[in-house]
Amino acid sequence: MNTLKFIIKRLLISVVILFFVALIIYVLMRSLPASYVETIARQKSMQPGSKSFEEWMAQLNASYGMDRGIIPGFLHWLGQAVRGQFGDSWFYTVPVLQKFEETIWLSFIMGAISMVLELIIAIPLGIVAARKQYSKTDYAISVFALAGISLPTFFFASLLKLVFSVKLGWFDLFGIIGRNYEQLDKWGQFLDKANHLVLPIITLVVVSVGSLMRYTRTNMLEVLNADYIRTARAKGLSERKVIYKHAFRNTLIPLVTIVGGSLPGLFSGALITETLYSIPGIGYTSYTAMVSGDIPFSMFYLSFLAILTLLGNLISDVLYAVVDPRVRIA
């Protein structure tokens, strides 16, 4: 009962936050000096025998619904968005939601695979590092984790491309499908896509595995210093049992929280990585839309990201209370 009340309260707060986030983003997008509309108007007015730039601006603004003031415009957008209508993308000239549906699953698959890999790599290594604190293994793992965190995505991606695409020729440099994709059978097409996802996923995993690894290590260390571990050891339990039954289960509490909290993030797409490899997921699609000043798509994507963040926070808070019986929700 308490939990339900807490969730409802948090949801209401989230809605308020979301309203302001959307407002800020909308005001920002509208007050930007050069927009997509202006670019198009300039192009059109350049054509021989065309109307003047101002006339085109007026006409395009009216047709794109940009002739309202900023606040009325926002309220109109909000009214539409609440009903699930995000309008048509200017850049892609299809409904925003249609483009979203086309691209989101690719991003989700990419994110999910990398997340599973991250968990598989980070948790065991984090535990090993914590068990052998200050040993050479610990230092090696810590430095590796920090290096992953410090690695500029674009630099690492370039290195991977140089080694695996150029020198070894195992993968293509860009894109999700190969040159002869159309000639392949179903299975071949699947393999082709999988092949194109290898480098992006490696990039994602290496760049983000570090923080999870460090998180695991820190929590494991905390648990290993706890009294009940001393008690378990004093009882004469085998080290295996102490670590994997008593300590590990308790380390899982914060891990579950953080992993649960990052689940919505799987849908947000990897903006930089997708752009680097030209993977047509939601990240790359949005990047292109944002760079060309596509307001409907950008508004949608940014609000979507804000919702995902809020949802992530909510999930991790709730999970924290659910998993850890010591926590009481206020």
Partner: protein, 517 residues
């Protein structure tokens, strides 16, 4: 006062302490403990040294480098330009007298006759007579003596394109050349002929020349001088492949010859030297890391790029720390509705997806063509304004717990003012965590800046930053062929960010009083 304490210390040292004297135990202040723990951490020390090296490289290196940030380098490149074509004439050419006809069928018959050594031939009921002046020159005439045409292999060309050659001059000249005479007349005018090199002069002025070589320039505005042609032909006949020719203006050019066996033509290439930007030069003594796509020294660019990257990192971190500490401090200290409002603002800012926002702003700055310098300032402001919520949360959380401790009750009891209580008593206790988060945040900020600059939305040319140096790699040709352009910048970036993270880690451990070591 100070001297006095020193004296007492000296006295103390000379005295013998009893076994249970407190002074026998060396007591370290908390600060000294932190320093001791920090200096023992070898990895953190490595990080510190790397950072010091980076700062020296970026801030001192720029001064030591012999080159300026945006100094362009040139190299002279030799361009092959097709200049002229030359052909040694081995086929008969025909010149037809005014008012006469000499169609190609008749030309074919003439060739047959000349090969057989006949002196006459006929075509279509007309008889033609051949007069052989030399192997390369025949005069074709009707039996009545009227000249019809001239068949020749040596070519008579004028020195000046304005001068016209008509049939009479041509035939007189060619015949004279074939007979190796030194003069001929045409139209009542006398021309002098040098049988050695075929030079034809009229009234002492150069008129034309006669040679078996035909040479024409590829470009219309070029006129080939006689001298040039002579030298080229001489060189070709000697089997040489190139000559150096000094033209009228005294400019020296090198020419190379190429023979195309299929067409039997020689192509004369002019080698012109032109100054071009020394782009993507390989590493050399002058440029240790080569030059970039603009023709600037890579190492110098890296130094200045480091300056920009580090400066941006620091300024951004200062902006967000100041905002974060003030808002977090107020929020944590006062609590209640103030805390609520500020924390909701933090929540809102926390939710704003910063990377997309910066990308949108960057793209719009691109479109309006903001000056690169102002753009850099905007970039710092934007990053700073988006970065403070995390710090505000951290400060607030710390202050909430510190507020309840006894020493704060004491400050309240002694009647210290609110400002003083916050900034003299609370904030200093937050500083350790703040330093750690700032050090790690610096690494993150530098990464963000580099990513933006890489995408072309951050620091722009002419300013260098490590990110925009790597930007070149977007060009796949550079990615493949010029790794020395982008790998050093990436390594520097990685090392710097890693060093900041390691340092932050080390500082956190050092500040943690629970640490065993």
């Amino acid at each position: 006062m100070e001297e006095k304490t020193k004296k007492t210390e000296n006295q103390d040292r000379n005295e013998e302490y009893s076994l249970n004297d407190d002074r026998r135990v060396k007591v370290l202040s908390p600060g000294a403990m932190v320093a001791k723990r920090f200096f023992r951490n070898r990895i953190a020390m490595v990080g510190l040294f790397v950072l010091i090296a980076m700062f020296l490289f970026s801030f001192v290196g720029g001064l030591l480098s012999p080159y300026k940030e945006d100094q362009l380098f040139y190299r002279t490149e030799i361009l092959h330009k097709e200049y002229a074509g030359a052909i040694e004439n081995k086929d008969f050419r025909y010149a037809v007298a005014d008012g006469q006809e000499f169609p190609s069928v008749v030309q074919a018959k003439f060739i047959l006759a000349s090969q057989k050594g006949e002196e006459s031939f006929s075509h279509d009921g007309k008889a033609y007579q051949l007069t052989k002046e030399s192997d390369d020159l025949y005069v074709i005439s009707y039996p009545d003596g009227t000249e019809v045409a001239l068949a020749y292999k040596t070519i008579f060309s004028t020195s000046d394109p304005a001068l016209k050659l008509d049939f009479e001059i041509l035939s007189a000249g060619l015949i004279a050349a074939a007979k190796e005479e030194t003069s001929f007349t045409a139209h009542g005018e006398t021309f002098a002929l040098d049988p050695e090199d075929g030079l034809v002069t009229k009234d002492g002025k150069e008129f034309g020349y006669i040679s078996t070589w035909k040479m024409e320039p590829f470009m219309k505005d070029v006129f080939l001088t006689r001298d040039f042609k002579d030298q080229v032909i001489e060189a070709i006949e000697k089997g040489e492949k190139e000559i150096v020719y000094r033209d009228k203006d005294g400019e020296e050019h090198e020419y190379t010859f190429e023979f195309n066996p299929a067409s039997g033509k020689w192509t004369i290439n002019q080698e012109t030297e032109s100054r071009v930007y020394d782009t993507y030069a390989n590493p050399s003594k002058e440029h240790w890391l080569g030059t970039d796509g603009y023709g600037m020294d890579m190492l110098t660019r890296l130094m200045y790029g480091g300056r920009v990257s580090l400066m941006i990192g620091f300024i951004v971190e200062i902006i967000s720390t100041v905002i974060g500490v003030i808002l977090g401090g107020i929020s944590g200290y006062f609590g209640g509705w103030v805390d609520n409002v500020i924390m909701r603002v933090v929540d809102v800012f926390y939710c704003i997806p910063s990377m997309p926002i910066i990308i949108i702003l960057g793209a719009s700055m691109d479109a309006t063509g903001v000056d690169p310098k102002i753009r850099m300032i905007y970039l710092m402001l934007i990053l700073g304004l988006l970065g403070w919520p995390g710090i505000a949360r951290l400060v607030r959380g710390q202050i909430l717990s510190l507020r309840e401790q006894e020493f704060m009750t004491a400050t309240e009891a002694t009647g210290i003012g609110v400002n003083r209580r916050i900034f003299r008593h609370l904030i200093p206790n937050v500083i350790p965590q703040l330093i750690v988060s700032c050090t790690m945040g610096l690494g993150g900020t530098i990464l963000t800046e580099a990513t933006l600059s890489f995408l072309g939305l951050g620091v722009r040319f002419p300013f260098a930053s490590w990110g925009n140096i790597i930007n070149d790699v977007k060009n796949t040709f550079v990615l493949i062929n010029y790794p020395f352009i982008w790998i050093p910048a990436g390594v520097l970036l990685l090392l710097t960010v890693l060093a900041f993270n390691i340092l932050g880690d080390g500082l956190r451990d050092a500040f943690d009083p629970k640490m065993k070591r």
